[in-house]
Amino acid sequence: MSTPYYVSPEQIRQDKEDFVRRGIAQAKEVVVLEYRDGLLMVAENPRKTIYKISEIYDRIALAAAGRIAEYEALRVAGIRESEIKGFRYYREDVTAKWLTNLYSQHMGAVAQAWDAKPLEIELLVCEVGITGSETASGLQCNQIYHIAFDGIYSEEEKYAVIGGRATAITEMLEQRYTDGLEMPAALRLVMETFQNIEADTDTEDGYEIAPDTIEVACLEQTAERRRFRRLSTDEVTALLS
């Protein structure tokens, strides 16, 4: 009988993290930021039908960077669990915080399993606040939760970025973001940030940021029950002009 090699828990964790980082480093970014009427979500994504940002429930959206297939399974599971919870109790009882915990537990369990590959994705779970409540506090205001591959999550304020160059983009946003932006201004800010980061990253196959190479969606503080709205290329072009 051969003696198994000993590998320290720290080493196992480090190996998994390195593995995921290499995957995520390739991933194009998604930015979520608060604007005057809700949350704006923008991703670098030239595809027409495969999305990185999607509707989960009345006030909740999910954005991801990394492997699309892994994101897709989590997206559908999130919609299903949300609908079941809303059907059992009440639609307003479905919250981003609850959903974040659900994802976090799942991703943590997969990352710790000795026989499974950790998920090569990062998620942003977003919830738009309740209409017209300027004094909204706690769970009534806009919420953005960032979940890492191992299920560790954090609460972000005003804006959040996931993807390979997230740190650099966050630094750019730190300098230029202001409160209460209107949607066209917020969209322009993200577009310019993407353009700057693409200019800084010297690659031969430069990614051109244009209305048809980005994916845009928003969660609006409207009276409508379903607050998620995807913006078409035409709408994006009109907003930018």
């Binding site: 399974a73 559908v76 599971a77 609908e83 079941i84 059907f87 059992r88 994802y103 799942h106 379903r226």
Partner: protein, 264 residues
């Protein structure tokens, strides 16, 4: 814990049936006691309702009265019997109130669940067919008198017109071209619609004849509620067009009835 094994089904009803059957108690035929007795009375006992739909040139109008009856008593004066389903469809229900409301809610969740997971809306025919399955699933309870009969209407984006579907207790689905009304006052409402309907009517005419049909149904059928001018309770009307589903404002409905009463 997140269970990813259900991936691939866009059918919320199936998921609930398998994972949370307790949430479907009222709509699950296997829950019905096997010694169910069918009487003529039990089939008609709870049908205190008139709901109708009328096709007009740009879409369809759907309307329902507001009264629920409990035997010979008024059970509820402000009940809602017409519910929007997605952006281009609505369901109206007649029958036992509890299972009716549950079916409308489940149907709405189902259609939205499909739209979100698949990334596109379920076609109007797809919605109408799915509703057949829900009605059939309720057959066990229907045999005991807790019947749910829906009327389904919507704007078909492909065919560019308003469409109406009616159902029987075993889930049979039948399309009606112009108008239809169901419930205990359905026959009376249909009589009015038959006399007043003509092809290609305008939105205003559709609202007027829908209001008049409900008035006549309430006049003839004790289980259908008419407009209550003292409590300000009026029937609920929805308009469905290419632009979407919208509720007709209460003030407009009140005006329709004041005008109707002035002509009597």
């Amino acid at each position: 814990m997140l269970d990813l094994t259900d991936y691939g089904t866009s059918n919320f009803f199936q998921i609930l049936k398998r994972r949370h059957p307790e949430l479907l108690a009222a709509l699950h035929s296997s829950n019905a006691p096997s010694n169910a007795t069918v009487t003529e009375a039990s089939f008609h006992q709870y049908e205190g309702t008139t709901v109708l739909a009328v096709v007009y040139d740009a879409g369809v109008v759907m309307a329902g009265d507001r009264q629920a009856t409990e035997g010979y008593q008024v059970g509820e004066r402000r009940i809602q019997k017409v519910y929007p389903v997605d952006r281009h469809s609505a369901i109206a229900v007649a029958g036992a109130a509890g299972p009716c409301i549950e079916m409308a809610k489940l149907f709405q969740v189902e259609v939205e669940f499909y739209e979100k997971t698949e990334g596109m809306s379920l076609s109007l025919d797809g919605q109408a067919n799915f509703l057949s399955h829900l009605v059939r699933a309720n057959l066990g309870l229907a045999m005991q008198g807790l019947i749910v009969l829906p009327l389904f209407a919507g704007y078909d984006l492909k065919q560019q017109r308003g469409r109406i579907f009616k159902y029987d207790a075993v889930g049979g689905r039948y399309e009606e071209g112009d108008y239809y009304a169901i419930g205990s006052g359905g026959k009376d409402a249909r009589a009015t619609l038959k006399k007043r309907y003509s092809l290609g009517i305008t939105h205003q005419t559709a609202l007027e004849i829908a209001a008049e049909a409900l008035w006549d149904a309430a006049d003839e059928d004790i289980a259908t509620g008419g407009p209550d001018l003292i409590r300000k309770i009026f029937p609920i009307l929805y308009t469905i067009t290419q632009e979407g589903v919208s509720e007709v404002p209460e003030a407009t409905v009140e005006e329709l009835y004041r005008e109707l009463i002035s002509r009597l």
